[in-house]
């Protein structure tokens, strides 16, 4: 499946992009994170959550939506 990964805040500085398209053949969020940690080792040290369908999901959730967002701690308001 083709995934569109979105990066926000501090994370977009680490990846040097706001979003990118990746080919993903496994099933879980944790599998995706392993791939991303290889591509962007600095990500591993950062505090963030993963959102799918505009909801925070846990690492053992299955990826069912082509849009995945990596969200550092919110700082609105």
């Amino acid at each position: 499946m083709q995934l569109q990964i979105k990066y926000f805040g501090l994370l977009a500085e680490i990846t040097n992009c706001d979003q990118e398209t990746l080919e993903f053949s496994k099933s879980q969020v944790s599998d995706l994170l392993k791939e991303l940690y290889i591509k962007y080792p600095l990500l591993k040290q950062k505090d963030f959550k993963v959102a799918q369908n505009h909801e925070i999901v846990s690492n053992n959730s299955n990826i069912t939506n082509p849009e995945i967002a990596l969200l550092p701690p919110f700082s609105g308001g």
């Binding site: 979105k6 926000f8 805040g9 501090l10 959102a51 505009h54 967002a69 969200l71 550092p72 701690p73 919110f74 700082s75 609105g76 308001g77």
Partner: protein, 148 residues
């Protein structure tokens, strides 16, 4: 009495002006069931960090998720508190120190409701809405804001 049922866009480009806030207040004069309004305004502080002063905050957001979360917060607030209406506006892009970046406005027949509702809404926004503030210093360096 207006509970919007579909997510609407809460974001405004740049700072929220005092004239905009005044217009929003004036619009409620025709709603004569209202006895109490409570307004929260977030203003950008000129914090000093390691000798450098913040000159503004540049806001970005995961817009679709943020508007969905604002909508959920709105719905939850109407179900918990006896409110006549509620309005939320958040800035995107650059907001300079001293300018307003968040405007939350709740109205009810009774004052007890607006106090509880407003604090609930603001805390929910801080906790659940994916908005990011980049604190830009006077020398153009920056750091990512962390909410406390």
């Amino acid at each position: 009495m207006t509970t919007e049922k579909k997510p609407k866009n809460v974001f405004k480009e740049g700072a929220i002006s005092s004239e905009f806030i005044a217009k929003s207040i004036a619009k409620h004069q025709s709603k004569t069931a209202i006895g109490a309004h409570n307004i929260f305004l977030g203003q950008v502080r000129a914090d000093k960090i390691d000798g450098k002063t913040v000159s503004g905050i540049e806001y970005t957001a995961y817009k679709e998720m943020a508007n969905a979360k604002f909508h959920e917060i709105r719905e939850a607030t109407f179900s918990r508190f006896d409110l006549t209406c509620m309005h939320i506006y958040h800035s995107l892009g650059m907001v300079k120190t001293g300018e307003i970046c968040l405007f939350v406005f709740v109205s009810s027949p009774r004052r007890k409701e607006v106090f509880k509702a407003l604090e609930y809404v603001v805390e929910e926004i801080k906790a659940k809405v994916p908005v990011y503030g980049k604190e830009v210093f006077e020398d153009s360096t920056h750091q990512w804001k962390v909410n406390s």
